[in-house]
């Protein structure tokens, strides 16, 4: 492409300033409700395991490849590696992004790795690597939380030994009101957020990311809300796996 062609930036839609109107959210949800969840396994035929996840306007795909022999530079390791990679599609946000991996993508990949790795039994595949590749098709808020849940579902689909399914959700605080599973508009107005990833059957937390200033009691409340959210997500994930193996 010639260099003198300048791409015209899309006009950015103004963000709504009031995301809570008369106690309900803009999309009509209550404060402790998820967006409609759609999960589907086995969507990438060449992958060992794969998931397409959609929470209203957040859409992403996760593919699991491997286990395959680790690259030489990893050296010998009795525990397998988990290689996480997150890619935001250039058209995923309102603005077209530049070529190459952005710092946000790198950060998300790191956080995804920490959240998922804690649940995977890495000793089951020594000297081998499992690739977790996440492609965000549309960023409508809470991409990381959806990516964690989708990645663990995809790992289960690929029959990688795990201790438990890992589910995840976000809790945002907007105008002193706690909102489960915030959209990007809500997250834009938040003054604090909590991302919680956990293994609900074992009742263990694998990732907790807190942003903003929280008082002890408030944070406690937010984590409790996150835990109920994770449990709800876990039920849905298990149903999806059950249906994938035995159609109803």
């Amino acid at each position: 492409m010639p260099k003198d062609v300048v791409s015209v930036p899309l006009p950015r839609k103004p963000r709504p300033t009031n995301v809570i109107v008369n106690g309900t959210r803009l999309d009509g949800r209550g404060p402790e409700e998820f967006r409609p969840i759609f999960l589907s396994t086995g969507v990438i035929p060449q992958a060992s395991g794969s998931v397409y996840a959609e929470l209203d306007k957040t859409k992403l795909m996760v593919g699991i490849y491997g286990p395959r022999p680790s690259d030489r530079w990893h050296g010998f390791s009795e525990e397998g590696h988990l290689d996480c990679d997150v890619k935001m599609a250039p058209f995923s946000g309102g603005q077209r992004t530049k070529w190459g991996q952005s710092p946000e993508e790198r950060e998300m990949a790191g956080l995804l790795g920490v959240a998922v790795e804690a649940g995977v039994q890495r000793s089951a595949f020594p000297k081998a690597t499992v690739d977790v590749q996440c492609l965000v098709l549309e960023a409508g808020g809470g991409e990381l939380a959806v990516a964690v849940a989708a990645a663990s579902l995809a790992l289960a689909d690929a029959a990688i030994p795990m201790r438990d399914l890992i589910t995840s959700c976000t809790v945002s605080r907007v105008d002193n009101q706690l909102l489960l599973d915030a959209t990007s508009d809500e997250a834009f107005q938040e003054d604090g957020s909590v991302l919680l990833a956990m293994m609900p059957s074992l009742n263990q937390v694998t990732q907790l990311l807190v942003k903003g200033a929280w008082s002890g009691g408030e944070l406690d409340e937010a984590i409790q809300l996150g835990m109920t959210g994770c449990a709800e997500m876990d039920g849905i994930c298990r149903q999806v796996l059950q249906e994938a193996i035995a159609p109803p």
Partner: protein, 316 residues
């Protein structure tokens, strides 16, 4: 998934749904999910099998799949998984690298397998120490990209797989085609090398999901029959493509497509099921290409359902 030749993935899904309705050969073994607690008989005790782990004396599943119990041993078998090697398995793999004193072979497993120079028959068939010269001439035996059949000789704790081809029935495969199916579909059996006499086709059902099918090579089988001794010069000759007639190739294609159809329907792949599928196609007077089309897939699915129903009636 991955089935496109008819442009109707959904229709194939409907065939699978027909199969799912049929009585399952897996009775009373329930489905468990990752992290599910597996009930165990406390008084009897239990042994932890594959796909499970223990915390504080409680057994949990670490993969999703069907629960299996053999006496005290409890394991969970996932529906699809990469090939896990066992000693003595016949495998079909591809040489990916020629390294010092060993070939690296891709078995579609968790790790590449190693075929040591000391674990192959040298051209000429004599037993002796492997010299530097042998090491330099390794490419005369197997090259990168060669398809080979081999046997799993040993497994190590770190997951390393060692192969051997120390019999003339193993070695480079030429003049046929490879069909890759999920390794979980293949059952370990007494024989993995087959000569389908009525079709004139040779078949190797590799435990790792590689099924090699080629027209019967009379010259090669003469080698095999003399017990792997003498006539080893045949191995030394660089791969000359045996010449086969179109009819012979057509028959091999028929067998290969039978394997593909079984994989599409996720049915077990072994010599009996492959031969049955070929026969079913022959009865319907279908060509090799028609075996991958929807009517035949539907026919097979219905046949399988009938068979299972009969089995169930007999069991009652």
């Amino acid at each position: 998934m991955g089935f496109r030749s008819d442009g109707s993935v959904l229709a194939v899904e409907s065939c699978r749904a027909v199969l799912a309705e049929a009585p399952s050969p897996f009775q009373d073994s329930g489905f468990v999910c990752v992290g599910d607690r597996i009930e165990t008989d406390v008084s009897e005790g239990f042994l932890r099998g594959h796909g499970t782990y223990v915390i504080d004396g409680v057994l949990y599943a670490s993969v999703c799949g069907l629960k299996e119990r053999v006496n005290k041993l409890i394991s969970v078998r996932p529906l699809k998984q990469r090939y896990a090697a066992e000693i003595g398995d016949v495998v079909v793999g591809r040489v990916t690298e020629v390294a010092g004193k060993r070939w690296r072979v891709d078995l579609k497993s968790r790790q590449d397998a190693a075929l040591m120079l000391s674990a192959v028959n040298l051209p000429g068939g004599i037993q002796r120490r492997r010299t530097m010269e042998d090491e330099l001439n390794m490419r005369l035996v197997f090259e990168e990209g060669d398809l080979i059949s081999a046997e799993v000789q040993s497994l190590h704790a770190d997951g390393q797989i060692n192969l051997q081809t120390r019999s003339s029935k193993y070695g480079r495969l030429v003049g046929g085609q490879l069909v890759e199916v999920p390794a979980t579909l293949i059952k370990r059996q007494k024989f993995h090398f087959h000569h389908l006499e009525d079709l004139g086709v040779d078949m190797i059902v590799g435990c790792n999901g590689g099924v090699w099918v080629g027209p019967h090579d009379a010259h090669k089988s003469a080698d095999t029959q003399d017990g792997g001794h003498g006539r080893e010069e045949a191995v030394l000759v660089m791969p000359t493509m045996p010449s086969f007639t179109p009819q012979q190739r057509g028959k091999a294609a028929r067998v290969a497509n039978a394997v593909r159809v079984l994989a599409i329907l996720y049915l077990p792949v072994h010599s009996a099921s492959i031969q049955d599928t070929c026969q079913a196609a022959m009865q319907l007077d279908l060509g090799a290409a028609d075996m991958l089309k929807l009517p035949f897939i539907q026919h097979l699915a219905e046949q399988e359902v009938q068979r299972r129903q009969q089995d169930e009636m007999q069991a009652d």
